[in-house]
């Protein structure tokens, strides 16, 4: 018994609480369970662990690069700042968690519990009415990180085990319910493509699918569609993520550091001394963010590809009738190629105007546009909006979404105090649904968590109630569904 206990103690101290080895261990175990040869399991362990260690270096790099700018903003204007982007959000959440002395390893444990609970909700789909399994690995990592910090922030005294189980249930419910909410709109868009969305803006996609037809017919005049317009060619450079992030960072940090000025930066940042070219200092500093983002993504890609493949394997083996909920970009092929660009453009416009608003109205938190929400959320909204309400709906909805991302992000970065570490998640659901859940948790504690879970679980019940006859058919056999609806 003593021996077993000390074994467990060793496991807990060196693997369970060390995220890099825990990730590697999970992948290793997964390969063994899938009856792969030992050498492949070993290779998986190495790749996942190295991937995680890369991620760690990059997350630290982002926070450290940001620190002098944050300090200068605080010093001169008493301002905090956050980039709204899930990678920045993840790095900030990790920094916040480690700052209060908790283990970031819980992130992986939460992820596993949440994924398992999503499966349970689908297994009992006759009762729960949940049809979708969320398998987008990198999103699951980011959301587990941010939500973990929210729970630690709201329940500072709660022990690790309690946090993992409580958040696992809450996050698993969100994954199941939110992706289930996109089934109808996505099947309609893709003409029975057989997938739902498992990303960061599912509530936004649902709202878009409801609002777009109304905007499309506003004033009795039908809107133009995207097929009728021609966009200037230079915009295509922004489909390259390295160019887009680099440009955004240069724009924002260029302005911010120019306002702060060379003298202040020289006193705060040891990397700059007066007399050297300030222009090239700003250029290098701004692009350094893109460097760490690219490294972070490399790390995430390395350990997440192993996870995603096993999630997909597990769900298709265990639940053959279930629908996978995948990255929102899977819908882009079904939209007009212009939709992606229009969404990005008007989302960015909405964000910039909202940020100007923050400055004018002296918000204590400054928001900086990150690439992922402004591009992926708004491109997705534009694809859905154009299908149901034409160009007018795509423009209006993405513009409003941009404003919401900034205002919701500013509130959340300030309320959950991640602005100290320079980031917040920032995608649509994390600027709307999750701040509400967080405020509920902070004020009502366990009652708040209970309310959130029950309210989420009620959503698929309402969907089912409105469409009893074809609710499962639309996900399982779209052709039969279309035929049945056509007859009615």
């Amino acid at each position: 018994m003593e021996f077993l206990l000390s074994m467990w103690g060793f496991f807990q101290a060196n693997i369970l609480t060390k995220p890099a080895f825990f990730v590697g261990f999970i992948v290793f175990l997964g390969y063994i369970l899938l009856r792969k040869p030992l050498y492949e399991a070993f290779a998986g362990f190495i790749k996942a662990t190295v991937g995680y260690l890369i991620l760690n270096i990059a997350a630290g790099g982002l926070v450290v690069t940001f620190r002098p700018i944050l300090a200068a903003l605080k010093d001169r204007f008493n301002l905090e700042a956050a980039v709204i982007d899930p990678y920045f959000g993840q790095a900030a959440a990790q920094a916040a968690i480690e700052n209060v002395g908790r283990s970031f390893s819980m992130m992986m444990q939460v992820l596993l519990v949440a994924f398992a609970f999503n499966l349970v909700l689908v297994i009992f789909r006759k009762i729960t009415k949940v049809r979708t399994v969320f398998i987008t690995g990198h999103i699951m990592v980011q959301q587990s990180a941010t939500a973990l910090w929210m729970v630690i922030f709201c329940f500072p005294a709660l022990q690790d085990t309690g946090i993992v189980w409580m958040l696992g249930l809450l996050l698993g419910t969100y994954w199941a319910v939110s992706s289930n909410l996109t089934v109808e709109a996505t099947q309609d868009l893709t003409d029975g493509g057989g997938f739902a969305i498992g990303h960061q803006q599912m509530f936004g996609v649902w709202l878009t699918s409801k609002i777009a037809p109304k905007i499309g017919n506003m004033g009795g005049k039908k809107s133009k569609t995207l097929d009728e317009i021609q966009l200037p060619g230079f915009l295509s450079i922004f489909s390259d993520n390295v160019v887009a992030t680099g440009t955004l960072m240069l724009l924002f940090f260029g302005i911010i550091m120019s306002i702060l000025g060379p003298d202040l930066m020289a006193t705060i940042d040891t990397k700059y001394t007066v007399g050297n070219s300030f222009f090239f200092y700003v250029l290098e500093k701004s692009l350094t963010f893109s460097v760490y983002l690219a490294i972070l993504q490399l790390g995430v890609r390395m350990f997440v590809s192993e996870l995603t493949e096993s999630f997909q394997g597990i769900s298709s083996r265990l639940l053959p009738g279930s629908m996978p909920a995948v990255d929102c970009a899977a819908t882009y092929g079904f939209g007009n190629p212009n939709a992606v660009t229009v969404g990005f453009l008007f989302g960015a416009l909405g964000q910039f105007i909202a940020i100007l608003g923050l400055v004018v109205f002296k918000s204590p938190v400054l928001i900086i546009t990150g690439f992922v929400p402004v591009f992926f959320d708004n491109a997705t909204f534009a694809v859905f909006a154009n299908k149901r309400g034409g160009l007018r709906a795509a423009v209006i909805i993405t513009f409003c979404a941009g404003i919401i991302q900034v205002l919701g992000g500013a509130f959340a970065a300030s309320f959950f105090q991640t602005a100290q570490f320079g980031g917040w998640h920032g995608n649509f659901d994390w600027a709307t649904v999750w701040p509400v859940i967080g405020v509920l948790m902070k004020n009502l504690q366990y009652v708040g968590v209970g309310i959130a879970i029950i309210a989420l679980l009620a959503i698929p019940q309402l969907q089912y109630f409105k469409n009893k006859a074809h609710y499962f058919q639309i996900a399982e056999d779209y052709d039969a569904y279309k035929e049945a609806v056509g007859k009615e």
Partner: protein, 96 residues
């Protein structure tokens, strides 16, 4: 051995899905492949040294330069449809 790259906006989610699906189809068709997945931005520079690029329809024009140098560019409408992938592989690779 066919060298294949799967690309999407950020090189995280969709390209991983494409990779898993085409892996399955290539196996079914008995074609040996080595598949990487990455972002469109990075893939654009690497494409000329690969045999085939898979991406969403909306990104096909990004790879015009590589296509001119002989890389096969396959645009997909439904990234998850094995039927579509198989038809396009047969049409653009097998029967080329």
């Amino acid at each position: 051995m066919l060298r294949v790259i799967a690309a999407c906006g950020n090189g995280m989610g969709s390209s991983q899905i494409i990779k898993m699906k085409i892996e399955k189809v290539f196996k079914k068709l008995n074609i040996a492949v080595k598949i990487e997945h990455t972002s469109v931005g990075i893939a654009k520079n690497q494409a000329p040294s690969y045999d085939v690029v898979f991406c969403s329809d909306s990104f096909v024009s990004t790879f015009d330069a590589a296509a001119a140098r002989g890389t096969i560019i396959i645009g997909l409408k439904n990234l998850l449809s094995e039927q579509e992938i198989e038809e396009k592989i047969v049409k653009q690779i097998v029967n080329k």
